[in-house]
Amino acid sequence: METDQCTLYYKSKTVNSALSRTEWIQLKEVLSFHDWKLVTLALPKSCHLSSHQITVSSSHICRLYDRFHALDKDDKGSLNRSDFQNISELAVNPLGDRIINAFFPDGMDLIDFNSFVRILARFRPVDQNPKKEPNAPEPINSRVNKLKFAFQLYDQDKDGKISKSELLQVLRMMVGVQVTEEQLESITDRTIQEADLDGDDAISFEEFKKSLDKVDIEHKMSIRFLR
């Protein structure tokens, strides 16, 4: 029985807590006609990841839902890796596999709609005028979180550092075959040298962040149509 765990808030009132597929489809019709400014999804408490409040506009939720179900060819209600690999462009993206991996954190095999949206929500463009509440959790699409995503692409073993071999792997994937191994090695050495501040021959997240100080991450790691 497929249910999409989804909590909808409208004007800070809980409207619905758990929707079945048919209810969701009906609700979608409603959503697209009414002018609900924001629909907030809260993760179910059962999920062991910390719950962020994320905000995605309602029309995008509908679209993402359509896309989710279009990708889900077996109508399982969740996506596995092969569904992602169906996307032809990802197959020829040099970092395609790693992107797919990023959707399946911690060895989980299936991803439901909530997590799908949650991961995509990172790529929302950053709000220009953030209301700074002192205790509010960091918005999911903040610069730091975007950088974390990029960091994850390198750091496959999740030890918090980009080692030389990890960097070399990624570099090898991104570069044509005419570059020799020695050249790649020296480039990797130079990269680590530039960024490594504490001399451990690896790039930690802080060093990573610092090296990308001048780069406009908010723009680079945003998808415009998720505004």
Partner: protein
């Protein structure tokens, strides 16, 4: 020196042509009869009865007989030799696009011919142009068009082409009319209608010229498609040259457009259907493709419909099915021939443009021509700006200013514009003025814009990225992030089109494929492909590691590195930066840039897929058992695997009988491009474990509807027993055994297949196993 000799040769050929023209002319005029063929009566009449004794001519020249084909061949040869000549001398082609050089050569030859008072070869008549020279170019563009990209941007394309062309033509026409009113320029007699007509002619952006200039720039395909289609829409309007009755005009416009599309679809399906039965006549397959397309073109011309739309639609529909039905060699033949013909055509067009420029009658009016040029630019720029602003609201990936600038600047007029000007009847007032103006605009845009576009784009690119401040870190990480974002965007997909695409796919699967594609497809494509990829993989390893496999060198290097490397010299850093910027993959090259002069370049996608292939193999090999989830220690070898998926499919134990069934993957396993390939008949030879390897499939021309010929899914079924495989050789052996078993199962199917076709060689099926046999 190679270049000099080629130039000399070219000049020699020039003079041969001119001399022969001269002599042929004089022969025809009877001034100096140089030959006499046996049996021809002599000029004077003899009174005496004895017949004149004619000796058997040992050596004779009979030029008129072969004149026409000879001249055509010479022209083609000349133009092609000139092309070779350009490429030998590299420096020119860097700055000056080929079409400019061709026009220059044409001008020179035209000058020579003019000076010997030779009439221009009436080759660039509109009939010749539209019936012989244009179809190959358009067919080539249609055949190699990236279909997915086109359909995703369909709305934008139509918007720009229809509205944009109208905007341009009306704008230019009206403003020129305004100019005409000014008495000082002396062109008051041109009325509004004629001005509008001229505006329509001159606003035709020529895809031939645009593509020739821009192919080196790797401009976004979207731009080229837009440019291309703006022409198409014009072509459909050409039929109401004489009237400006707007209502009838628009109705006619739609009729013409849709009629062309309908005919194209009709012929496309007929062609696809025909190729279903060509199993025994493999050599004729290219013939069908070309003839049906050309027939579509001609029939559309017959009914005064848009022939360009017809031929492009025909090519689009046909390609998908034909490339499945047709043998690999025919496929290659078709592609090569298309490229060849379109290259020749285009060369000839530009060449003759130069020649006819010199030899036709001109009327020059500074004001008119000057203002025409100005207005062309102004209106095009405005048009692009305004239209892009409007359509950006509807696009998921909006046009940046740089894109807009490229689009505006790429408004090159070319031969089509010129021939349309020639199409004007001779009774048309001020016809010469119009043709002169058209030629002037063409030459100006092609030369000036063609030469300056490259530095401009470089400058624009340069402004964005301030190279000096970029560290290597930023460059690498920046590129990685760009790839990631491109991947995520692709993941989100183009939502609005998905519905129609799904519908089309359903119809396609249910009806069209059954009718148009023959059954019992040979497996040879997969086998040959697998073999090819293996070879390439080996070559890649050889190239990159100097003959020894990568692993040992890597470990040995790591062992030898006790100390940190010294700081790098700035020159080294700079060279590294250059290396990176040249060799890192650009994002979104998922479909290949269209180039007129060469077949689509598949190397990048192949490299990526090969790497995945090899890394998956490594990961398979490293992983002892199949149970390990992500991050487990088993996989942390010196070559960490790329993909650490736990197996999603239960292991299979294969026996010969079960081979066929076992090899059939479940429905959702057939991946990526081959979404349609879910029919159970397909028994893939090589099957990846579902965990990661799927989709080593590629579309050489486009995705979604593209050819399945290029890379069909590469799949390898791993057979492994319950204890898991610890032994690499055992693994390989079993792998090959599956490989062998699989074809055995399929061989029965193929026994009835084309035995005569050497391409499906059964030796090919068996060869990989023979190689790997222990």
């Amino acid at each position: 020196m190679g270049s000099l000799s080629v130039w000399r040769l070219t000049l020699v050929v020039f003079y041969i042509v001119v001399v022969i023209h001269g002599s042929s002319a004089s022969y025809v005029n009877g001034k100096t009869p140089t030959t006499s063929s046996p049996g021809q009566p002599s000029n004077t009449v003899h009174t005496f009865p004895a017949p004149e004794k004619e000796y058997l001519p040992v050596f004779q020249i009979n030029y008129p007989r072969i004149q026409i084909p000879f001249e055509i061949t010479l022209w083609i040869l000349l133009a092609s030799l000139a092309k070779i000549g350009f490429h030998v001398y590299h420096k020119i082609t860097v700055w000056v696009p080929e079409c400019c050089l061709l026009i220059i050569i044409g001008l020179i030859v035209g000058g020579i011919m003019y000076s010997v008072h030779e009439a221009s070869p009436a080759v660039l008549t509109t009939d010749v142009f539209f019936l012989y020279l244009l179809p190959p170019i358009v067919l080539d563009a249609g055949y190699f068009m990236p279909t997915r990209l086109f359909f995703e941007n369909c709305g934008t394309v139509l918007w720009f082409s229809v509205v944009g062309t109208l905007w341009n033509s009306i704008g230019i026409g009206i403003s020129l009319f305004g100019i005409c009113q000014i008495e000082a320029f002396g062109i008051q007699d041109i009325n509004l209608q004629e001005n509008l007509l001229f505006g329509t002619i001159i606003s035709t952006v020529d895809p031939v010229a645009v593509l020739t200039v821009f192919e080196e720039e790797n401009i976004n395909e979207q731009l080229y498609i837009v440019a291309l289609y703006s022409l198409f829409k014009y072509m459909s309007q050409i039929d109401h040259v004489d009237s400006i009755d707007i209502f009838l005009g628009t109705a006619d416009f739609f009729v013409v457009g849709f009629g062309g599309i309908m005919f194209g679809l009709l012929f496309g399906f007929v062609a696809a259907f025909t190729t279903r039965f060509t199993t025994n006549t493999r050599e004729l397959e290219p013939v069908f493709v070309f003839m049906y397309s050309y027939l579509a073109y001609l029939v559309a011309e017959l009914f005064s419909l848009s022939s360009i739309m017809a031929i492009v639609t025909c090519a689009l529909t046909m390609k998908y099915y034909v490339e499945e039905n047709v043998s690999q060699r025919s496929c290659t033949t078709i592609r090569h021939f298309l490229k060849m013909w379109s290259s020749v055509s285009e060369t000839l067009i530009f060449f003759f443009l130069g020649v006819t420029t010199v030899t036709s009658k001109h009327e020059w009016n500074w004001a008119y021509i000057g203002f025409t040029l100005i207005f062309c630019f102004v209106w095009r720029g405005l048009g692009v700006l305004v239209l892009a602003q409007i359509i950006n609201n509807f696009r998921t990936i909006p046009f940046t200013f740089k894109d807009q600038f490229s689009m505006a600047y790429s408004g090159l007029r070319g031969a089509i514009c010129f021939s349309l000007a020639f199409l004007l009847p001779h009774t048309f007032p001020r016809r010469n003025l119009f043709t002169t103006a058209a030629i002037a605009v063409i030459i100006f845009t092609v030369f000036i814009q063609g030469i300056t576009i490259r530095p401009l784009i470089d400058y624009l690119n340069l402004r964005r990225t301030n190279r000096k401040l970029m560290t290597i870190n930023v460059e690498i990480h920046g590129r990685a992030m760009e790839h990631a974002i491109a991947g995520i965007e692709d993941l989100c997909g183009q939502w609005s089109h998905y519905y129609w695409k799904d519908k089309f796919k359903k119809i396609n699967d249910r009806f069209l494929r059954k009718v148009l594609i023959k059954d019992n497809k040979p497996q040879s494509s997969i086998v040959s492909l697998y073999k090819k990829l293996q070879l390439q993989n080996a070559l890649v390893l050889l190239d990159s590691n100097g003959g020894i496999s990568g692993a040992p060198s890597l470990t040995s290097l790591q062992e030898q590195k006790p100390t940190k490397p010294e700081t790098f010299l700035p020159e080294e850093v700079r060279s590294m930066q250059e290396l990176l910027s040249k060799n890192m993959y650009k994002i979104r090259e998922r479909t290949l840039t269209y180039t007129r002069h060469s077949l689509p370049n598949e190397t990048r996608t192949k490299e990526i897929l090969l790497r995945r292939h090899s890394s998956i193999r490594k990961s398979m090999r490293k992983a002892g058992t199949w149970q390990t989830p992500v991050g487990d220690d088993d996989d942390d070898d010196d070559i960490p695997s790329e993909i650490n998926f736990p197996p999603a499919r239960p292991r299979l134990q294969l026996r010969a009988k079960e081979t066929r069934r076992a090899l059939q993957p479940p429905r959702n396993e057939l991946q990526t491009v081959n979404e349609v390939r879910t029919d159970s008949r397909r028994t893939p030879m090589v099957d990846y474990e579902k965990r990661g390897g799927s989709a080593v499939s590629e579309n050489s021309e486009g995705r979604g509807t593209g050819t399945k010929r290029a890379l069909t899914p590469m799949r390898r079924v791993w057979s492994f027993n319950e204890q898991g495989l610890k032994n690499n050789e055992k693994e390989d052996q079993m792998e090959m055994e599956e490989f062998r078993n699989a074809p055995a199962a399929n061989r029965r199917e193929e026994a009835t297949e084309e035995v005569s076709d050497s391409e499906t060689t059964h030796p090919l099926l068996s060869r990989p196993m023979d190689q790997y046999k222990p």
